[in-house]
Amino acid sequence: MSGAAVIVVGATVYWAPRPGEPVAPSEVSRVAAASPSTPARVQHAQRDPTQSQITATPAHTPAPSADTEASTIEQYASEKYQYLLDDLRYLDATQVEQLKRALLARERLAGLSSDPAAMAAVEAGIRGLLRPDDYATYEMLKESDLELFKLNEYAAGITNVAPLSAADRESILKTKLAYKDRFHQLLQDSGLQRTDLSAAEREYAYSVTARALEGYRQSYLQEVRQYLTNEEQFALLSNYETTEFKAELARLRSMVDVPVQGGS
């Protein structure tokens, strides 16, 4: 039992956020999901095959408090849903707090424990509080982890050259998310992610998706061009995104080149 104790204490440290770590993308929610009442935390402690690494963690290493975890996830959710929370004048203070709690719960659920029923309940609560257009904003923002991460990377990289205003950031993120939604729909329709396509069908699906990705990049950047008045901001955004889109295209290509393996 003492061995198990070492494993579990170690696991608690291993999955916890590091002090001073910058606001992280979606996986912050996963860490926060590991609250005492979350069964998924138990699953990790049992199932993670890195347990041998975990046991190497000194048992006396202090685990971060639940308060620290809650604070981290709260900070992340606050940033992620900032553009939703900024403009909800029709809600009173109590409703705003209710919404924040629901968003926090959503982020927790989106992490380790993806419980569809619980998520549906949380989303129903959010829907009940928001007007349809704001709920649409919520729908857009809830899948924005990677885009937010990239925006932060780009914004941090240019902060000493041409810093972005809050309005610039909002315009960039919202524009990108709007075009991303369209692209993702097309990606789904293309069938590229299916496993039963022939080589020729995969190649065709790739060509369709590649065109859509380029359309996504161009449309997004053209629209953002209207919002960014600083030439260097736009030039550096274009540079950054072009590199990232190239990487995404290469990833899509790999889905065609690498045969899908079946079975377990």
């Binding site: 910058p22 993308p25 932060n152 995404e248 790999s254």
Partner: protein
Amino acid sequence: MISRILCGTALLAFAGMAQATISLSASAGNSQVSLSWSYSNETPVTQEVYRDTDSNPSGRVRIGSVSASTRSFTATGLSNGTTYYFWIKNTVNGTATNSNAASATPAGSGGGGGGAITGATCSSTGSVTVTATILVTSGTYDGGCRTYNPTSALGDGGQGEDQDPAFRVENNALLRNAILGNNGVDGVHFYNSGRLENFRWTNVGEDAFTIKSGGTVSITGVTGVNSEDKFAQVNAASTLNVSNCIVDNAGKFLRQNGGTTFKVTVNVDRCRISNMGEGIFRTDSSTSVARLTNSQLRNSGTTCIGPWASCTTSGNTSF
């Protein structure tokens, strides 16, 4: 909290339930990592792929979702020379299982074995005049393959020690896709770790880059020519990883600051090094360590100069 987890662990252990595991392995390629995995005692349903640059899952980024029958994934667009960690997360009826963390360090293809060493691949897309050092203190600065031309305000690109750098990279920030023009001034300075990818010095000035304070500096896909003295200068205890580089015509590839005794660890892999007036690695420290692997050498002088604690080579060829 711990008591509850222990309780859960104990209950399952006593019940004799087989543990579900996902065994993930990763293999590095050129700017990409190929993942493959298998399951024990669990049926894959919703599979997601995550990536990070350290082994702590906190802060990892989801890079893909794959169908239930998929057992492989290729992560692309990665930085050669950077170690990446990956996980597969499978969710079944609301219960998530994570794989082990599998790590790999992508690297440029080829090397001494005859494959291609590309160095920087940028062709200039325009020019930028640099009147003051560009600070990259966090995040990613992507130059878009523009040519950065420092003015004389930063220096003249000669051997003067008082010149300013064109770029200063700090705190593990990433500078990528840029060309430094003919006035190379004092190149790139690194403070407290940093990363450099796809960067070309058209005419190295005082030196191509300098590590000014401790940390880990990772450099990949770079080309630098015509350093009258050294290509790399290391002024602080640090680790330097260089891969896929082309360096031609310099006094030496790397110089640890003269007379210093701190430890520097240098790993140079898959580089083409030619026409070194003196040699490749030079130090005065008996604690420093250097490795040169899978590289192509021509007229490169003495590989290890000074009292290195260890200075090893393997897989290198002449060209």
